[in-house]
Symmetry: C2
Subunit: 214 residues, 2 copies
Amino acid sequence: MPTTPNEAATPATSRHQRRREKTRARLIEAARTLVAERGVDAVGLSDITEAADLGVGTFYNYFASRDEIVEAVAEESIESLGARMDSMTEDMPDTAERFASSLRHLVRHAMSDPLWGWFVVRLGIAHPKLIGILGPRAARDLRYGVDAGRFTITDIDIATACVFGSLLSTLHHVVSAEAPENIDEIYARAMLCMVGMDPAEAEEVATRPLPELP
Amino acid sequence: MPTTPNEAATPATSRHQRRREKTRARLIEAARTLVAERGVDAVGLSDITEAADLGVGTFYNYFASRDEIVEAVAEESIESLGARMDSMTEDMPDTAERFASSLRHLVRHAMSDPLWGWFVVRLGIAHPKLIGILGPRAARDLRYGVDAGRFTITDIDIATACVFGSLLSTLHHVVSAEAPENIDEIYARAMLCMVGMDPAEAEEVATRPLPELP
């Protein structure tokens, strides 16, 4: 609900809002951790309120269901990263590097934040929210590469699915096995080959210095 | 428990054994359907016995836990297919075709049996049994291809993970979207490119006539 400037200015309202945000963040954090540990289907609404030490009634002030809070966690954990990757790559002249840089950042994110990695892995390849956030971005980058003559792809949808499935398996490897330090480069190289680039060229693109996320 | 020839010969025992096998098959079938519909974490032991119209006590005569029956379903649905693919491909002279043919059969199996496809998709990329059955076979075929000079791969484990993740995403595409009829060829072509083959050659290998499974 939008607040008028007047409402926002009263200290009582802003205190109230701050408290609301804090409670919401506690629920979100509890849901993220539980889903990362157990998988979304094994997490009930009451598990989340218990972990957040809040009542079920409080939960319903913020979210209508278990699925809704999981969608909110996905939105906050992945959409913001996606937006940062978009602004990092939008001026990159080479479409192959653009595609590779985003993929590398996703893998690196799981390396620096394994809980995030587990959350994405446990959501799984069939989760509509995950597909909805990452799918269109991957498809867009693949199309840019095809238009620029960098990629040769038979079917964009299937290529997108393969990039996405490979990403989740690679993240699973990152969080559960002894992964090489340059796994982001190895994964990006494999994906560049998959979309038709010559292995030597894919290697060169995948190992370029990776710009920081904004 | 092994039976002596004498025991096996009495009609009563073999009737008893047939009944046991039938009951076990009912439990397996119920578990397969429920996991395919809901995902493994959302299926409890009592859901399985209810769907099979059997008591919980009966369940424990066959399996020790929910996880054990899911493993048995995975074993029966995937290991037997794996073994048939092994014998189909063992005499193929071209390692690239060998790899591609197995992948194509997995995709086609999901096309002809969507319940099987959903079962594999819902087990997910992190399921140890699925990784245990398909992972070593994929890794073996990749190694053959590298040894024969057909494939160029940076890291066999990561390539295996990518083949596996891409497979599950492709199966998900098969069972949930309008997939092209030759999706098995498109997927195999993408995987051959991913392991370093030239796109035109990958296309040629991926579209060869596919031998039947024994």
